[in-house]
Subunit: 322 residues, 2 copies
DNA sequence: CCTATTATACTCATTTGGAGAATAATAGGC
DNA sequence: GCCTATTATTCTCCAAATGAGTATAATAGG
């Protein structure tokens, strides 16, 4: 198929061998449990569920589901593809064979009796403590990260590079009067990586280099997690995906807290209600819930019909898009 | 890396062999030339530039660039990843080795002296004639596609399926009083595929089955093109990517025509101006252009600084996001 | 019965977005 | 040189969407 259309192609001697690659499937599985966004991890909570794509797998998605199930006992519902990487030096000990990593984002509820597998749910803010702005700007930002970023910018000899570095940091972290944009989670991680403020950026063993900022993960798993967080934070604003994380019935405040957990910032309650209700995403169950210490709240459920009515149409959330 | 964290893993005998895959890189390269959105094709204009990911490639992106350059003489500027596929039956004659297809979207200008390679630029509406609504609803829709879709829905015996099929069609194509949403290009193609209204859906040789709707392409290349179109139509609304397709200087109307070519619909001129100007994306060059038969238009250029100022911030375009 | 607490419903001002009218500056025909 | 067609550019108006704050309702607990 390619040959017939590529007259310029020079047939290399080892063409057959040179194409051999192996593909890894990596899962970012998210749940929200009592106000905290959790990610499903394996090992010492330093790795995401993952495994090679094998001949027996029907598709990439089913291969991913199989690995997650085998490693954590969790069967996934909603999943979507995140990104495919293939950096040559991603795994240092494989000079002949290349590894392609295909990552996915999965949304579930944290529950399910899951036998004896070795896994754990961790707050994603354990890995990204600077991302949680629900209680205001986290101390680690002004106290540690911003000074370090400033130093990193200043250490460049070229003034253009100094300016450019600082400008990027200011945009990503909302400095110099700029606003915080929760969607930039990936850019922020990559900036910290460049500035060598995360353990993964340092050569040598991760365990030996205590992380300045957040828990580290193996290989590029923390970067993949950041990718998933950024994607989810963007997506909840225009697709009704939050409901994948909710129990069958819930109150509006519970829904709001879930959104806030993901976004890492608070939203205006009356406006949140208004937006959710006028979009016809949910319906009352008739029951109420009276244990939060005030007036009882109505219970709602997601209108499953929404998924059919508008495969693509949206949920709008009052998190202004920048 | 996986073994240490997966106690449940059963070591298969042929684990080494079963993981062997090969990866293809596929490029959707877009330009806009005098009011038409063009896609770069090879062969009989029935294939996208593509080739295997090889050991010699520094990265997926550079491998892709190398293939496009070799096959078409074109060197790419802006590229972004689209999607990674691995359907088992994607290539029917490969039972042992799986093929993973990693697709990219590239934006350029159609120009460049490109030697002797065999390629051509085609309007993407040759492949998707139902997608161009700039001059109103294209005849193929009410005349051919809608009746066929109706028939396809009606041929289901289960009334629920009938309803569901028609509902999907109505949403995707803006029927029954719904509005046309240009972003749904991929869903529309997939629906037509399901309904067997595109040649690729039929078993047997493509050439022997004349396409009801639009030109066909080999394998799943038309689907990948649809993915690229949908992505681009979404993206121009919130990122300043249109400028990758513009010449160094241009008038506001030229910019507008480019956006319209991509979106497949017209926009309100004064509002377009207002939006572009108030976002500070462009600056006057000082020159004017006086050959379109009316008052001379000011020339503008893209403010490159925008890319640094807001790596992520947006272009808003007056194409309501549904 | 009073108070703290949360739920829910309104109000108001500002911003955005869609649509059309009015004015400006050319070329070309006469 | 004047009139007309054509495109460019600027404004105005109105309706919808959004941000922020206030008022009222319904509980539990002392």
């Amino acid at each position: 198929m390619h040959d017939k259309t590529t007259p310029a192609k020079k047939p290399t001697a080892r063409s057959k061998r040179s194409r051999a690659v192996s593909a890894d499937l990596i899962a970012v599985v998210i749940a929200v449990t009592n106000g905290g966004p959790r990610v499903l991890t394996i090992g010492q909570a330093d790795a995401l569920p993952s495994g090679p794509f094998e001949l027996g797998h029907r598709s990439l998605q089913s291969g991913l589901r199989a690995w997650v199930e085998r490693q954590t006992g969790h069967s996934l519902g909603y999943i979507e593809q995140l990104y495919t990487f293939a950096d040559r030096d991603r795994i240092g000990d494989e000079p002949v064979q290349r590894v392609i990593s295909i990552s996915y984002l999965g949304l579930t509820r944290e529950e399910q009796a899951d036998g004896q597998t070795m896994h754990s749910w961790r707050s994603w803010y354990d890995y990204f403590p600077w991302e949680d702005h629900r209680a205001g700007v986290p101390a680690i930002l002004p106290d540690i990260l911003v000074p370090r970023l400033r130093a990193w910018a200043d250490e460049a000899s070229d003034p253009d590079i100094r300016h450019h570095r600082w400008q990027r940091a200011a945009i990503a972290f909302g400095l110099d009067g700029r606003v915080w944009n929760e969607e930039l989670a990936l850019q922020r991680y990559e900036l910290l990586y460049e500035a060598e403020l995360v353990a993964e950026a340092k050569p040598g063993n991760i365990a030996s280099a205590p992380s300045i900022a957040g828990l580290a993960m193996i290989a590029d798993h923390r970067r993949i997690l950041a990718t998933g967080i950024a994607r989810l934070r963007t997506k909840i604003k225009y697709r009704p995906v939050v409901f994948e994380l909710m129990p069958p019935t819930f109150t509006l405040l519970q829904l709001q807290r879930t959104v806030e957990a993901l976004a890492g910032r608070l939203v205006h309650k009356p406006n949140f209600r208004r937006l959710i209700e006028e979009q016809d995403l949910i319906e009352e169950t008739g029951e109420t819930m009276s244990d939060t210490g005030g007036r009882p709240a109505k219970r709602f459920r997601f209108r499953q019909a929404v998924l059919a009515e508008r495969t693509v149409a949206g949920t709008k959330l009052p998190l202004s898009r920048v």
